[in-house]
């Protein structure tokens, strides 16, 4: 039977089957598996039935552990269930997986396999997560392509029912989960027919029911546990044959036949590779190419990894095999080899010992490849085959890197290629925000459907949120495409942003004679003069066919603003010739109509105008015979950067991190801080320019800047002696610091152009209202001047912290930020809090950062924003996990407290050696002001050389920890997904502990990092992923839960609504000698607002009572006052008037107006009720029993 071909990615291919075969789906977002849960949620929200005709129950849980628990319960109650996860999420499911397997319960967990965090987190793909779950008793079934992700998902769901053994069905994260490919999809009816209906009934019959009660989950003793555990064996003994039989049934229906171990290659192969997952695609191409050239090689693709069917593995090998290389996409330090290698060796050894089949033991070597989505190319596979030919091949090798430390890596010839000549390849460089990837999704579908070609599309994203670059890799061929690696040579290269030419080797992948399309503001006659020399040289040397289009002009004239995707897509079709141009234009317009048709004619007409305008603006450029440019692509970093940045960071920034050898990298994941300043991303088209004549010295532009790109400095007049011409300053209005000058300076290359500062600036010209004290101006016109000024500005000495009243807006902004130039989104609502935190306490702060947005923009390489001051001090930052951050931070506090106690004891012991006066002064230090801390720091500095002169182990010990005697501040930072959901129990425990930690919750009210899934912080009526019909329940009141303890300092703040209240809350929290919790309103792109107005918009959040400001300070209770202080006024704006400014609320009106009206009304009631409640709390007197006793004891 012939089925329609579809172009989907691996996640969708698997999710379709999971959805069709399940009744209860428990989900939790984690990259790269989130789209499976999102699709299931969206399908359920739209009422799509599963194969049984009912709409599955899709529920988001608070963690993967919760999802596994919910699935376990659903299974026990007789439902068919599934879940999706990856990496740490799978690890959190492991306890339940043992139970589910031990109880012989049919279940399939679909895993987009991803790296488990070790020395660093990585969102990318390898199989370390699956390998960590291999002892749970789950069957492990590996798919190596998008088609397999669909077919083997069916196999998994059918086989688990048939066998009662649960399965992990996995495929490589990103490479398969996010690759679009042409596949044949089974209909729900066909899927249903492949499921064993009788077994489903049996599963239901086993459900817990009071009508025929049983007890499961007993506690067993040494007498029977062991035997009972062995009782399960028969189910595993037949499992492999059940899977093979199921594969055969799928094969009969689809024509695609799968084997447990599938051999491809020469029947008489001598050298054989063994691997599983997407690497099989590259390896299979290599086998074919080498055999074509006369070699005798083969490949065993492992599909069913657990249980490992030894006879089937032996049977898959050609009798001629002399050597095997087993490749593992994981690392198991200290093991004799990685897991698959060990299984193969064991199997072969047993087989040899049995005397049955094997005549001789083949040589077996094992190695690692592809960790964290490292490319695995045919060249690397060929390198492994070459190694097998050597007399003494290396075992426990690595391939794809240069290991100059342990010498594990194999050499390979990177020029080895296997791609068939009938495959056409195209590579597109774009910005995340310019729509390039979306357009390529579209193009892939058009060509797949209209030209009848097989299509593969894969997209590489960078890890930044602002100004993220994308590279699209598209392949088209008349046959299925299994090339599971990035394009190495492209016949078409498109650069959608002219600036990219200066930032890396855009033409590296262009094959000789390829077509190069450049989105250029310069026309065909003038563009040549604007190209760097490297680009000119490659155009000539490779004989490229060079075309330009001014996509931005065409888009602008068509009324599409900066959305250039339609223009560039049209040019791609015009130049690539996959379809006759008229057909292509018709197809593009049909796609536009499908997207915009129902919205209205104007959007349609504008896009049509862009299509037509594109062709008129597309020009071929005559390439001269010789390069004329003298300008070269500038080096990635300033030559003044530190050695590590020059040697390592610069390579990553230039996109050449793959070339760094093992020795270049830290052994334990420790990196220098303050590196973001060396990365000039220059994203902004417009930057803010200061007009000192209007400035009122308020510091508000600096406090709200998300990127620390607007700086304020106060300094004595003589600091400007060497100032560049035109450097701006004005007299600083201050009674405390008379005679000083003020400068507000933009960091022109670090500004993202978000416009928040300009929107927030309260000072405007009397003559022209729209002219403010800072104004957005075209960057190009100001760049050179502002660069010079910023350089000078950085050199002006920082104001003496001990002379600043830090708890004021101006005072805080006179301090140096030690969080700068992060890769957060333009207009991010979180980062201003972190920056302020570092201004207030940055030189003595330890940060425990939960996984999420803040750990990505705060800790993702190549460069990181946590910085150092001129003395080399600054925040020390670490990320442990998503779920454990409060505990992680508490651990830091405990360590500090023990070290402080130890240091104090040692100092007391050494009083005689260091002098009673100094020791006494250090031990009695109580003044926690900036000046006081500075004096303590001076005392400790005085102490250290004295300790050196004392010859005792106590002195040496004290010297090693004496820095803890200067007060340190522990800050536990994370988002609402952590604080409200996955980490809540830990947070609760830490707050209950009473220890002196400070918790800062950057509350965006959704899981921002994974794309806006609802959390328990998501407010009622908001639309979010996993709450597509509007969140029905109210937001959890985390602050009041914490305040209920009585001893926790709690503040709810919104920096844009009240700068000073935020500053005071931070200062109070830090000074409070117990646990503190600050919940900070953080606008996010997932709110659907104009981000440039995010800070002024916070005012409406507060004025509507949506986000009341308060501080709950237990210290007031201790002196008999009211601990709760409401800092905002009674709501005066209707919630609806605030809410409908945000797409997250407004969009529900477009989907379900009745529901919207009801939820918005209830949300208003929430606000009214909460305000009433808070007013009452603010009048409550409280004492903390026992507090005075504790203090007396101290």
């Amino acid at each position: 039977m012939s089925r329609a071909l579809a172009i989907v990615d691996g996640n969708e291919a698997a999710a379709r089957v999971a959805y069709a075969t399940s009744e209860v789906i428990a989900i939790y977002p984690i990259t790269p598996s989130s789209p499976m849960g999102e699709l299931a949620d969206a399908w359920a929200a739209s009422g799509r039935p599963n194969a049984f005709g009912t709409v599955p129950e899709v529920i988001q849980m608070q963690s993967e552990g919760g999802a596994a628990g919910a699935v376990h319960g659903a299974l026990q109650a007789g439902a068919l269930s599934t879940t999706f996860t990856a990496s740490q999420g799978l690890l959190l499911m492991i306890p339940n997986m043992y139970k589910i397997a031990g109880e012989l319960t049919p279940l399939v967990i679909h895993v987009a396999a991803r790296t488990v965090a070790t020395h660093a987190l990585s969102i990318f793909g390898d199989q370390s997560d699956v390998m960590a779950a291999r002892s749970t008793g789950f069957g492990l079934l590996a798919s190596s392509s998008v088609q397999e992700a669909h077919d083997l998902a069916v196999v998994a769901h059918a086989a688990t029912l048939e066998s009662r053994v649960p399965f992990v069905h996995f495929f490589d994260g990103f490479r398969t989960s996010h690759e679009l490919n042409t596949v044949e999809l089974l209909s729900d009816e066909e899927i249903l027919e492949l499921l064993p209906r009788e077994r489903i009934r049996e599963h239901r019959d086993r459900r817990l029911s009071p009508d025929r009660p049983v007890l499961r989950g007993s506690a067993q003793n040494p007498d029977v546990f062991f035997q009972a555990r062995e009782a399960i064996n028969p189910f595993y003994a037949t499992l492999a044959s059940t899977v093979q039989a199921t594969m055969d049934r799928v094969g009969e229906r689809t024509g695609r036949r799968y084997q447990l171990f599938e051999y491809v290659g020469a029947p008489d192969a001598e050298r054989v590779l063994v691997l599983m997952g997407s690497g099989a695609g590259a390896a299979e191409e290599t086998v074919a190419a080498l055999n074509e050239a006369g070699a005798k090689v083969g490949l065993v693709k492992v599909r069913l990894y657990r249980p490992f069917d030894r006879p089937a593995f032996i049977a898959s090998l050609p009798a001629t095999v002399r050597s095997l290389a087993v490749l593992d996409r994981t690392k198991e330090p200290g093991a004799p080899g990685e897991p698959l290698y060990q299984d193969v060796v064991t199997t072969l050894a047993e087989e040899l010992a049995s005397g049955r089949g094997l005549a001789r033991m083949p040589r077996v070597i094992g190695g690692r490849y592809g960790l964290s989505s490292k490319q695995f190319t045919p060249a690397m596979a060929a390198g492994v085959f070459a190694e097998l030919e050597r007399a003494e091949p290396k075992n426990r090798f690595t391939i794809g890197i240069v290991d100059d430390v342990s010498g594990t890596s194999l050499p390979y010839d990177p020029s080895f290629r296997t791609e068939a000549p009938d495959v056409s390849s195209a590579v597109f460089y774009g910005l995340g925000s310019d729509g390039t990837v979306g357009a390529n999704h579209n193009s892939a579908r058009i060509i797949g459907e209209r030209a009848g070609l097989h299509t593969q599309a894969y997209f590489v994203y960078d890890s930044r949120k602002a100004g993220a670059r994308t590279v699209s890799h598209l392949r088209f061929a008349p046959h299925p495409i299994g090339s599971t690696y990035l394009i190495e040579e492209a016949g078409y290269v498109a650069c959608h942003q002219f600036e990219f030419l200066e930032q890396g080797d855009i033409l590296e992948l262009a094959s000789p004679g390829a077509t190069f399309l450049l989105n250029s503001p310069y026309g065909p006659d003038e563009v040549w003069a604007h190209l760097p020399r490297e680009v000119q040289e490659q155009l000539i040397e490779k004989g490229l066919s060079f075309h330009v289009v001014d996509g931005h002009r065409v888009a602008r004239e068509a009324g599409l603003g900066r959305r250039i995707n339609t223009v560039l897509q049209t040019c791609f079709f015009a130049l690539s010739g996959h379809l006759p141009l008229d057909d292509a234009i018709a197809a593009i317009k049909a796609a536009i109509t499908a997207t915009y048709g129902k919205y209205g004619r104007q959007a349609l007409e504008r896009n049509f105008a862009a299509v037509d305008g594109a062709l008129a603006a597309l020009h071929r450029v005559e390439v001269p015979a010789g390069a004329s440019a003298t300008r070269r692509i500038p080096p990635a970093v300033d030559p003044a950067a530190p050695e590590f940045v020059q040697r390592v960071t610069a390579m990553m920034m230039a996109g050449k991190g793959d070339l760094l050898p093992v020795s270049a990298l830290p052994v334990d994941g420790s990196f220098p801080t303050g590196t973001s300043r060396w990365e000039r991303r220059s994203l902004a088209k417009e930057i803010p320019i200061w007009d000192p004549d209007i400035c009122i010295d308020c510091g508000k532009c600096a406090i709200v800047c998300p990127h620390a790109a607007i700086r304020m400095k106060v300094f004595p007049g003589d600091a400007l002696a060497e100032a560049p011409r035109g450097f701006k300053s004005k007299p600083f209005r201050s009674r405390e610091h008379p005679g000083t000058l003020l400068t507000i300076q933009v960091a022109p290359d670090d500004c993202t152009g978000c416009g928040v500062c300009v929107d927030y600036c309260p000072a405007h010209s009397k003559e022209v209202v729209r002219h403010k004290s800072i104004n957005m101006r075209p960057k190009e016109a100001h760049l050179e001047r502002e660069r010079e000024r910023f350089e000078f500005f950085l050199g002006i000495p920082e104001f003496d912290r001990s002379e600043v009243d830090v708890a004021t807006i101006k005072g805080s902004q006179m301090l140096q930020p030690l969080f700068e130039f992060s890769s957060a989104c333009e207009g991010c609502g979180e980062t201003p809090y972190l920056k302020l935190l570092t201004q207030l306490f940055g030189d003595r702060v330890l940060v425990a950062n939960a996984t999420g947005c803040s750990s990505i923009y705060g800790g993702n390489l190549p460069t990181t924003p946590w910085a150092q001051n001129g003395d080399g001090r600054g925040p020390a930052w670490a990320n442990s996990l998503f779920e454990d951050n409060a505990e992680f931070g508490l651990g830091m506090r405990l360590a500090l407290d023990r070290q402080i106690a130890h240091a104090r004891r040692l100092l007391d012991l050494l009083r005689a050696d260091v002098g009673d006066e100094l020791a006494g002064a250090i031990l009695e230090h109580a003044d926690r002001s900036e000046a006081g801390n500075e004096r303590q720091r001076a005392r400790v500095a005085e102490l250290l050389p004295m300790l050196e002169r004392v010859d005792s182990s106590e002195a040496s010990d004290l010297a090693s920890i004496a820095d803890v005697l200067v007060p340190k501040s522990v800050w536990i930072v994370g988002g609402d997904g952590w604080a409200y959901d996955i980490g809540f129990s830990g947070l609760d425990h830490v707050l209950a502990s009473g220890r002196d930690v400070n918790v800062l919750v950057l509350d965006t009210e959704v899981y921002s990092n994974t794309g806006g899934q609802a959390s328990k912080s998501t407010p009622r009526a908001a639309v979010a992923k996993f709450a597509a019909s509007g969140k029905p329940s109210r937001k959890k009141d985390l602050g009041m839960l914490a305040a209920d303890y009585g001893h926790v300092y709690v503040a709810q703040v919104a920096i844009g609504a009240d700068n000073l209240q935020t500053i005071r809350a931070m200062v109070e929290a830090e000074s409070y000698p117990g646990p503190s919790l600050i919940i900070a309103y953080s606008q996010c792109i997932a709110h659907g607002i104009e981000m440039s107005t995010g800070m002024t918009h916070q005012g409406d959040a507060v004025n509507s009572g949506y986000w009341p400001l308060y501080r709950y300070d237990p210290r007031h209770a201790q002196v008999g006052e009211h601990p709760m202080r409401l800092d905002s006024r009674k709501p005066k704006l209707a919630f609806k008037d605030f809410a409908l400014q945000e797409a997250r609320f407004a969009m529900l009106e477009r989907v379900n107006p009745e529901n919207a009206e009801r939820l918005l009304a209830t949300a208003q009631e929430d606000i009214d009720e909460r305000w009433h409640y808070y007013e009452q709390v603010a009048r409550i007197e409280r004492v903390i029993p026992g507090k005075h006793d504790e203090e007396a004891e101290e």
Partner: protein
């Protein structure tokens, strides 16, 4: 003696001359039902604003598409895929159909488009949705100093002609009073295909917010004195254009209704008073209108309509004089 309140507007036989004009009141079915119960003889639904759809469509698309595919951990974007998300006119069209089904009085759809294609396209859709008549809510603010009055007038005429081409239901055109020759413009609009004129569009003029020194959009409910402008022009146009005339702007009570009928309005439209006092206010106005007619021994609205128009007035010149002359004279003659 019972008074016959029936009137004829756009060829529609209406039970009385009270029609709620386009306003947010018409957005809810239950309010429409209450208006009908209160005696409304027809309703004009709130305007379908093409520009709003377009803006929202682009914004919705940007939210969904452009935030998607830019960051590896959020490749599907930051909002759920809402398959039934509607920024287009479907909701409005469904509302027309629902109003039609729920009410027994005629339903008049109102349209404010931004492009010629928009005017014609949406007009056809509104007709298909079951509207009994269509009111074109035309608002062309001529800010371009290069555009002549003739250019602007031609744009009005072009779009009326274009819409006339595609719909067969009655067509009313709602315009503002700012034409150099209102009477001539009215005649040309009718010649181009308008079955009726709705006089006048009340433009909400911007205000300044002194706190933030910014332009602040305002919506101000109308007052009775505002009827004087339509009153004058309906008086002048009655009998001079072959079209229905609807008066709108300032109708609060029976007094305004009666005055406007006297000068020649076929229907009087109200919104502000209904927003201010609730849909039930229409019943009061209707009762008072009937009572006045009875007290003054009129047999029917038809008898009253136009009896004090420009051509039937004892002092036609009064409609032509600039109002302040008479006002001044009156003031001078005060004792």
């Amino acid at each position: 003696m019972s008074v016959d309140l029936a009137t004829r507007y756009l060829g529609l036989e209406l039970a009385n001359p009270l029609v709620p004009s386009a306003s947010p009141l018409g957005a809810r079915l239950d309010t429409l039902r209450r208006l009908e119960e209160a005696g409304a003889s027809a309703v004009v639904l709130p305007s379908l604003f093409e520009e709003q759809f377009e803006h929202e469509a682009v914004a919705a698309h940007e939210l969904r598409e452009l935030r998607a595919h830019s960051f590896g951990e959020a490749t599907l974007g930051y909002f759920p895929v809402l398959e039934d998300y509607r920024t287009g006119p479907e909701t409005y069209l469904e509302h027309v159909a629902a109003a039609k089904a729920a009410l027994s009085i005629p339903v008049i759809a109102s349209l404010n488009a931004a492009s010629v294609g928009g005017w014609t396209g949406y007009a056809a859709l509104l007709e298909q949705a079951g509207a009994d008549a269509l009111e074109l809510n035309v608002y062309l603010l001529a800010t371009d100093p290069e555009a002549t009055a003739a250019d602007v007038e031609q744009r009005y005429l072009d779009l009326v002609a274009a819409v006339r081409e595609v719909v067969s239901i009655p067509l009313a055109v709602k315009v503002g009073p700012y034409f150099s020759s209102m009477a001539n413009m009215a005649r040309r609009l009718v010649a181009t295909g308008a079955d009726g004129l709705v006089l006048f569009n009340r433009f909400n003029q911007p205000d300044i917010d002194l706190d933030v020194l910014d332009v602040a959009p305002t919506v101000e409910l109308s007052r009775p004195w505002e009827t004087r402008l339509p009153l004058r022009w309906i008086a002048i146009l009655r009998g001079r254009v072959a079209a229905s005339l609807a008066a709108t702007g300032g109708v609060q009570s029976a007094a305004e209704v009666l005055k406007l009928l006297l000068v020649g309005a076929d229907v009087t439209m109200m919104a502000s008073a209904l927003i201010r006092h609730g849909p039930g206010h229409l019943e009061t106005v209707l009762r008072d209108t009937r009572a006045w007619l009875e007290a003054n021994e009129y047999e029917s609205v038809e008898q009253l309509k136009g009896s004090l128009s420009h051509e039937h007035s004892p002092d036609p010149a009064a409609f032509e004089r600039s109002n302040y002359m008479k006002a001044l004279a009156s003031w001078c003659t005060l004792p």
